[in-house]
Symmetry: C2
DNA sequence: CACCTCGAAGTCAGTCGCTGTCATCACTAC
DNA sequence: GTAGTGATGACAGCGACTGACTTCGAGGTG
């Protein structure tokens, strides 16, 4: 006789997304999410630092994908080429069969300013992490910051297009297109 | 006999900044801010939608400065040149004698994640507003978005440098430098 | 001067996000 | 079997924020 079902964080995360999508973020209390999977509010906050964080569980894996991409670039690659490699690596985290889930999640975020703020903060953290990785390769600070910020901007714009209903291309293709547009813009 | 002292929002804003700077953001309650200027917590929330917002009062003026800058650019200017004009206009909002105040305010923000999230959200709103202004000039959506995001990135990086202790240049000069670096990076 | 309206603020009760603290109890190691 | 260990429950409490209602000086109207 097990005392608790395993995988509490994952169960909470899934229940939260479903409740947010149907009832709305603000109309869903942390206690309700916990109750829906047989746990208490206190346990919810043991797994997630706050109510919004339950939607960003696993974000660290995306950051790691970017860093892995940086590592694959040849040592003498130009900063923006390193960023391109990072983007390609990150795109692998969003295969076509994940689009439906991403769409639902994003629609929840788009409907709530508090969630948008958290998402922006996650992207900003990603940008600084990426900048650190570039500096570790010998890129000067200003260039590293600008390249990293540009890379995250490209990712954000590409991701937004990727989940559009009328979009057919893969995230990697869209990223390449957007990055090309950015290069054309400033050249 | 006046019933209330005038300028409640401004008084609350100043008191809040002082309390945040000395005691810290989380260690200061909304009721304390209100009491320190002879008002109640309820009145605080009538003027500001939430506790963080008191630090971002007047942000709309900065957005307007960007838009004014866009309006000064000649109709046939390239997107990034329009952005450069917007940046120049925005720089006028931060004269040298405002650096001390900006530094204090930014140090408060830098010490609290919740405030950083709000700041990022304000910058994101600025970027979309700027993109809208570019599209109104006939720039296509993707180009407008990328140019606007790049402009806001340049502004953020330049502003961060401007308030550094070892920095002597004006914000406008720094912006020009950073924008040049960005152009070199992607060209 | 009496009257009325309006607007900015006060009062009060309540919900919810979040935290500290302590108790519980299946499971594990020795 | 005895002593942890770790995930959870129970409970009290603070602070952010809101809704509903009240208060009262200022300014206009007759």
């Amino acid at each position: 006789m097990v005392r608790w079902e395993p995988g509490a964080p994952a169960r909470l995360q899934q229940a939260a997304l479903e409740l947010f999508a149907t009832r709305g973020f603000e109309q869903t209390t942390a206690a309700e999410i916990a109750q829906s999977v047989g746990l208490t509010e206190r346990t919810f906050f043991r797994h997630f630092s706050d109510k919004r964080e339950v939607l960003f569980y696993g974000q660290q894996l995306l950051v790691q994908a970017f860093l892995d991409g940086v590592a694959t670039a040849p040592p003498d690659a130009a900063p923006m080429d390193v960023v391109a490699a990072a983007l390609a690596s990150a795109a692998a985290f969003f295969p076509a069969d994940r689009r439906a889930h991403s769409r639902i999640r994003q629609s929840v975020i788009d409907q709530n300013p508090a969630l948008q703020e958290r998402e922006l903060h996650k992207l900003a953290t990603l940008a600084t992490t990426l900048a650190d990785a570039l500096r570790a390769r010998g890129v000067d600070e200003l260039t590293a910051t600008l390249a990293a910020e540009s890379g995250v901007t490209v990712f954000g714009v590409a991701f937004t297009r990727w989940i559009r209903e009328d979009e057919q291309r893969s995230l990697a293709e869209i990223e390449t297109d957007v990055l090309g547009q950015l290069r054309a813009l400033t050249g």
